[in-house]
Amino acid sequence: MLRNVCIQLKNGLPKSYSTSTSSPASSELAALEPRKLLFPSNYKKPRQVWLESLDTIDERKLTILELHPEIFAANPRIDLIHQNIKWQQNYRYVSYAHTKSRFEVRGGGRKPWPQKGLGKARHGSIRSPLFRGGGVVHGPKSPTPHFYMLPFYIRIHGLTSALSIKLAQDDLHIVDSLEIPSEDTSYIDELIKSRLWGPSVLLVDSVDIMPRNITAATDTIKHVNLMPAYGLNVYSMLKHDTLVLTRGAVDLIEEKLLGHLHKNDSRAVEAKYKLNQV
């Protein structure tokens, strides 16, 4: 009965989606401006990508954008990506496996048989690890947290490596905004199918308040996810087939990562999670 009430509540109540903050006309104009790259490279040329639009189901290219080679054409360090993935899996993992030692198992206080005279091996307790039903030596204890902090610049280079790999494998698309004409789920489904974006898509915007239509359309599709730029991480990038960034998200991600790569006091961010410090 409670379940029925829950279902009724779920279907009956209007869903509270987030609302749009900017008008599409102004955002489109801002998206068409050429980008000015900070810290230009002396050696590598900027990477060029198409700026696309989600207005139509079929692919519509607006202009060409230039991306910073230090972020989007970095050395694809799969070792750093592996370290990032393992860290993301492990820092939230708590092992609840538990065993009892010979002193925690019930009983076993009495000497099972006399020391001498029976021709049997000498034993002091039936809960000794040698016995069936005895305690476990150095067994797992619950809870065992696996939290640790990855060094700051391994996290930064993990992000640049993952972004570069996504771009090199043609799995990174840049759109002007996340505005779509309808809040129908079939629209975004067909769009992904016609553009060959693969089943799972991660849409990243610079702000966490997304346009209403895209939130409503992707709400029931579990493999199409929305994420603000501050939540971008290596695990999610690799989990989804295609990464779709808005123009604003590209600007923000590039600015943040370049800021960290050219930071004045990098010791401050590195020392924060250092162990064995006073």
């Binding site: 002396n42 590598k44 050395n75 070792d79 800021g259 050219h262 930071k263 004045n264």
Partner: protein
């Protein structure tokens, strides 16, 4: 009375309690707090003057390492990287502090000295060959080296830091 004669400080306790309000065994929090002796907050007004803001901005610390001011010659002997090196087959990227990423690594109880050159892009094998050709006349022993193309670094046995920096500066890097 006996206690007073043995420990004369005991007589001063009531005075200290009056002054601070509470007595502790240690010196922790035994003196007055800074907020008690600081002057009262001053009155101020908020203005939006771009000229004044320039002076404020001058005081704000830099968050990123700034571009060096261009000069013909620097007193420290430091040389900036050349402007356009995109035609070269290989490239060594300067660090964020505009230095050549070439370091001396000492290990094994200070007995092993290796030179590490990092941030190499492009044809790393050609760079290794050219560095070895450059170092060979100055060393009578064969030069052993390790190339890690994946991570983009070269490790050379021995202390060749200044020689490699000289070699790269002459190439414009």
């Amino acid at each position: 009375m006996l206690a007073k004669r043995l420990f004369p400080a005991c007589t001063r306790i009531p005075y200290v309690i009056q002054k601070i309000g509470q007595i502790r065994e240690s010196s922790f929090k035994s003196s007055l707090f800074l907020e008690d002796i600081s002057p009262k907050p001053r009155e101020y007004e908020v203005t939006k003057n771009p000229v004044d803001w320039d002076y404020v901005q001058r005081l704000l610390p830099n968050t990123v390492v700034p571009e060096p001011v261009k000069k013909d010659k620097y007193p420290s002997g430091w040389k900036p990287q050349a402007e356009n090196l995109s035609e070269l087959p290989y490239f060594v990227q300067r660090t964020r502090n505009h230095m050549i990423p070439c370091y001396l690594r000492i290990s094994h109880l200070k007995t092993r000295r290796t030179t590490l050159l990092k941030n190499i892009k492009g044809d790393i094998w050609l760079l290794e060959k050219e560095i070895k050709d450059f170092l060979r006349p100055q060393n009578y022993q064969p030069i052993r080296s390790q190339v890690n193309e994946f991570a983009g670094f070269i490790r050379i046995n021995g202390d060749h830091v200044n020689a490699i920096k000289y070699f790269l500066e002459n190439k414009g890097m």
